[in-house]
Symmetry: C2
């Protein structure tokens, strides 16, 4: 029996992600992907059921990677401000060090694929975030809010900053925008001001 060459699967995954980011979903064709990854089209179907399965599997992998990085050094028992700061740093690190993967995730998130994947998301991650917020509220470090309101204020500004950074031009008419640590801290202070009693 012949063993699978895991480099092949990896090459397929990486090239597929790259093609989607560069050319969008209609830019990902199985034959072009096979050529780019240096395999036969049929080989792709050894590792993945079909085109959709390929895309979904890549998404799952990236989702897990993102969750891992986000929770690095984080503890749900942390004080609110410390936890928020760690999460911002972790998320920013992921986004800035993996711009291509980040772009892929966003493209999925706003495509019809996403609703097919909603249920599969890691609930342990969400659970950790939820208990952390609840503890912070109980300790009086965070104003009591519906989770969605809290989440929107706490993290959406960060992702908007990342988007400005990745578009390499900020708002039209501005000079180029770079998301550095002073900018991030400045924004984080505003968010903390909004969320602490």
């Amino acid at each position: 029996m012949r063993l699978r060459d895991e480099n092949k699967e990896l090459a397929i995954r990486e090239k597929a992600l790259e093609m989607i980011v560069k050319e969008g979903f209609d830019g990902l064709s199985m034959q072009k992907l096979a050529k780019a990854a240096g395999v036969s089209p049929a080989t792709i179907y050894i590792y993945f059921k079909d085109r959709d399965d390929l895309i979904m599997q890549i998404f799952e992998t990236e989702n897990a990677r993102m969750a891992d990085i986000t929770l690095d050094g984080f503890d749900p028992e942390m004080h609110f401000e410390e936890g928020l700061r760690i999460q911002w740093m972790n998320r920013a690190r992921y986004c800035l060090e993996n711009p291509e993967r980040m772009h892929f995730m966003e493209q999925i998130r706003y495509s019809p694929f996403h609703e097919r994947l909603q249920g599969a998301s890691k609930s342990t991650f969400i659970h950790a975030m939820r208990t952390w917020a609840q503890h912070a509220i109980a300790r009086g470090e965070l104003v009591p809010l519906p989770m969605e309101v809290y989440w929107s204020v706490a993290f959406a500004p960060l992702y908007q900053l990342v988007k400005f950074h990745m578009s390499r031009q900020g708002l039209p008419g501005s000079k180029k925008f770079t998301l550095d640590e002073p900018i991030m801290n400045q924004t984080l202070e505003l968010v903390i001001k909004a969320l602490t009693p």
Copy 2:
């Protein structure tokens, strides 16, 4: 000479938008679109140069519509809080009344199409926003900030709320989330707290 039937062009645009929202970019085929719009495939090419041109023209139209609604009742000379409140209401109104169009815009915004369209965006809109913010800073109603930081805190939370609303489920594990006026005001208050001195 025969005149163009503007209903045909409209039908093409509407059906194209609908198909992209429902099935993504690879779900938009010219032949299926022609059938859906009740015209011949060749007719589409009377109104649009090619597939890309069709998508871009729809985007331009929707962009203009969005900017119009956003600026409804808005004046760059307004006080900061009043201006922000009007903009939030306008944007929310657009998003909630046109979920399909909103979804289309987001799909474009996160696709490779978007970078081809960056330059074409309405600069009068951005200009109005910029002078409004600058006046507010001069009057001491708004803390001085880089435009990107300000924008991220001022509007990103609203769009995140809209996204929760449109996904019809909020955060995993929560009950269904509906963006109503109390929720919006509550979030807006937090944002104002962050941005005012």
